[in-house]
Symmetry: C2
Subunit: 239 residues, 2 copies
DNA sequence: GATTTCACGATTGTTAACAATTTTTGTCAA
DNA sequence: TTGACAAAAATTGTTAACAATCGTGAAATC
């Protein structure tokens, strides 16, 4: 909301003078998306204050926003913890995605010519590059972002928000229950979905997407869990 | 989040000792849903403080939450205003609903037998009653809530949240651009949709829903606007 | 040795005063 | 009357001190 958080031009150093709450939200959001912040990790106010060099008010506002997005959970008098979806929530997330994404890609495949599919082709390129370089966190983040960008090309901000939330949640779930390393988004399925969209083939696009989502689900084992991280500054400071 | 906001048992009076931020959020949310709070109405902190008998902190937290749900907008140093969707946003809302709701009712019509459709039948009864009594605000609110409840019967909290947000936004839009009085949700279309669901007829359910949404859209005139309300205490105090 | 109790430290929740900004009001001149 | 300008009032943003709560660990008791 406020504009102060931008790095001011007269500021010689690269460090922004005053990170706004949006900055903090984005930083934590990104860390969660890249699975650098494990579920159940505690986010203490004091820690975040010194990490971002900000007063407690900003941190608290950021935490409230994050909790309203379901990224963290606030326990009264006990602090903020990275959300830790259970089996039932995981089921709901995939059910919601199965409901929304098929008609979404179908619509894209039928879509008007003025759709900016370049966003997606560029993204696939990024994914390929990251896979070649074997950059784990980058691969994970881009894997999720592809689905967000599917929504973005509709240009509809509500659809984008919904998908963003579902994808974030999925990232938490995969981090919690994922088994094999490549489970997040196998091979080049994204590329094939995009090709089906470009070929204006709604049926195939939908089919590819559905089996893609199934692959992700099948890579989950609902009985294994990770333990919480703890060195926040290292995790949030650089990213 | 906190539990304090419940009216305590030992409290003889009906007035809750300390309304939590959830209470404030719900109250304002409801006022918006019933179109008692017009778009662009200013919600000043001091006003809300005395209306709810609460400190400024609670009010600010509530406003932040409401803004994250898109119900109000926060302008830096200028305060909070009830969201005022423009033509483009209105288009996006209906596009999003057209994407989500058809597969949703389709799924309900195909749905497992354990779905709690009683929630919907009860709701239709309430709508009929309100229509008979000619209670304007009640009719408006129930009209929107029907669609929220469609999502609720899936038992999926993500789908419910999405629909709730879209329905709220729709209420703002209808309030802003709606022309005729009965435009909100014509006749007994909800009842017929429910019947199609009960009859396990996905095609008809979807068709009825799509035409229903079209009716709502057709009742809008994107060139007329209402002016802001101002007596907050009267509006929020009783509802 | 195990369990309960209590007190301390650490963390979160709240309040009130202060600072900064915007909006309004009043004045003066054209 | 209208417009610009300046002071004042009202409103929002921020900070820091204070209060309340929770977790931990030591001491005491069984």
């Amino acid at each position: 909301m406020s504009i102060k958080s931008q790095p001011s031009p007269e500021n010689g150093v690269d460090i922004p003078a005053e990170p706004g709450e949006n900055f903090i939200v984005e930083r934590i959001y990104k860390a969660v998306m890249e699975q650098r912040l494990a579920p159940n990790t505690k986010l203490s106010e004091a820690r975040l204050c010194e990490t971002f060099g900000v007063g407690r008010m900003r941190v608290r506002r950021a935490l409230l926003l994050l909790s309203s997005q379901g990224i963290i959970e606030l326990h009264s008098n006990r602090g903020a913890y990275v959300a830790c979806p259970d089996k039932s929530e995981a089921h709901d997330v995939f059910a919601a995605r199965m409901l929304i994404e098929p008609p979404l890609v179908r619509q894209l495949a039928q879509g008007a010519a003025d759709l900016n599919l370049g966003l997606l082709t560029d993204h696939i390129a990024l994914e390929d590059a990251a896979r070649k370089e074997n950059e784990r966190t980058e691969i994970i983040r881009l894997s999720g972002e592809f689905h967000s960008k599917l929504a973005q090309v509709t240009g509809n901000k509500f659809i984008s928000r919904m998908m963003r939330e579902l994808v974030t949640r999925t990232s938490l779930i995969v981090g919690l229950f994922g088994t094999s390393e490549h489970a997040s988004c196998p091979d080049d399925e994204h590329g094939r979905i995009l090709k089906a969209i470009q070929a204006r083939d709604p049926d195939q696009a939908e089919e590819l997407l559905v089996s893609h989502l199934n692959h992700i689900q099948n890579g989950l084992d609902m009985d294994t869990r990770q333990q919480p991280q703890d060195d926040l500054t290292a995790i949030l400071g650089a990213g």
